[in-house]
């Protein structure tokens, strides 16, 4: 037990989880923005935009996240020499956020689209009947109801995003928790199982409140029909 507690003096476990929270926070904001635009494309009356939205979702949803993030490092950083900050590690951190956002935007788009399906067709017809064109109808009538119906699936995407943020190690963000876990296993091979359980528990603690919150919010905010 003393052995185990000494781990926390040598290694800063909360700091590693904080990196995951930061990654998830920025990626969630960007993914929500990109995903909403994609969902608009997919429900828009313009065929080329529909096609773009569908193509994006199918390409990014079906590409392993590890490959997207490894491409961020090997492709964007090493070969194309793209830099998002003057400091190397901040630059790699931002490239990882870009990768996480692009990937999860596909899932956000589908979650919002499932929310749109909960809005009765009559709402869209009524919006059109009072003279609203596509964008105002989407902004004022469809999307507000769609978001309220999509809270549970969006919560699932957020939970997946938090856990997937460990894949950022493939994009060279080594300060996050799975990177620290590797370091700890390398130096403290006598405590492999406790180390694993510590990190598993850390993610459970992070994720459970989000699950509870989204379940509560989806009930509270559901449109009563």
């Amino acid at each position: 037990m003393e052995n185990y507690l000494s781990l926390f003096e040598t290694y800063n476990v909360p700091a590693a989880f904080w990196v995951n929270i930061q990654l998830s926070f920025w990626a969630a904001i960007w993914a929500l923005a990109i995903g909403t635009v994609l969902a608009l494309f997919r429900i828009s009356p313009i065929p080329s935009l529909q096609l773009f939205g569908a193509a994006y979702v199918n390409i990014f949803r079906n590409t392993p996240l590890t490959i997207i993030l490894a491409f961020g490092f090997l492709g964007l950083f090493s070969v194309m020499q793209i830099s998002l900050a003057s400091d190397l590690n901040i630059s790699l951190f931002r490239i990882a956020i870009v990768g996480l956002s692009l990937y999860h935007a596909a899932f956000v788009c589908e979650a919002i689209r499932s929310g749109v399906n909960t809005v009765p067709l009559g709402q869209a017809e009524a919006a059109r009947a009072i003279g609203l064109s596509f964008l105002p109808a989407a902004r004022l009538i469809i999307l507000p109801q769609a978001f309220r119906g999509a809270i549970a699936p969006l919560g699932n995407v957020l939970i997946a995003l938090i856990k997937n943020s460990t894949v950022a190690a493939a994009g060279s963000v080594a300060t996050e928790s799975s990177g620290l876990m590797k370091t700890m296993i390398e130096f403290r091979s006598d405590l492999v199982i406790p180390i694993f359980l510590t990190f598993a528990l850390g993610f459970v603690i992070l994720v459970i409140p989000i699950g509870l919150l989204t379940t509560w919010a989806s009930r509270k905010l559901a449109v009563a029909r």
Binding site: S78, Q81, L88, N89, S172, A174, E186, D190, V192
Partner: protein, 278 residues
Amino acid sequence: MRTTRYAAAAVAALAALTLSACGGGDSAESEGGDAGGETVRIGIKFDQPGLGYDEGGSYSGFDVDVAKYVAGELGYTEKQIKFVEAPSANRENLLSNNQVDMIFATYSITDTRKETVDFAGPYFVAGQDLLVPTDSDITGPEDLEGKNLCSVTGSTSAQKIKDQYPGVQLVEQPGYAECVTAMGGGQIDAVTTDDIILAGLAAQEANAGKFKVVGNTFSEENYGVGLPKGSDKCEDINAAITKMIDDGAWEEAITKNTEGADYTYNAELNPPTPAPCA
């Protein structure tokens, strides 16, 4: 109806037979140990060129050559060796769960590891070094201030840089192959880990002539043979390693596996004398 029932019974019996056959195979293997019809399961790296490398079913590298020699001395033919992948983070578990009989996988002998596993050897003394492009003027870790250095996430080499050379911009990647690819792209100035691993990378066909090992080691890593705690094979393995060094096969194995890398091992520390068994 009756035929269906018979058919079902037959299928069940067949399934039971097949399953028990599998079980039998497993138990025969896990007993391992003494030679004569048994196989020996050896853990190696599958992804480190020049040390332990999976070339589509056949394995090459210095670790593999030492493993084959030692297994031969213990009385196993090459056909009785079963190579198992032993990634760094799994090595202790593979040994303590008795999933492998011994491990030759760039396995440094440390006091923490000795608490859970036994070691024979060392059979090689490596040292942390730098791999740089051939035209680079970096000659040691002192030249790295402000440069971009790449190593593997969570490795001893990465930690050493963080502790001792905080001015270096360290990039951590899942594997050395990614580091070397990034260095080929020009964004990374040097890759660091044990010298023999770097030599193996530099000797790869795709990298021939592009990179050089600096040859200025700044740590000492004793590569040992990992054994389950309480193993009785340590003495025999040490004798085999000594024999391999004495009859020249050791030297030959290093030369063969680092060919084309312009690499010479640290002659002050190599070849090592195996440490007495605990």
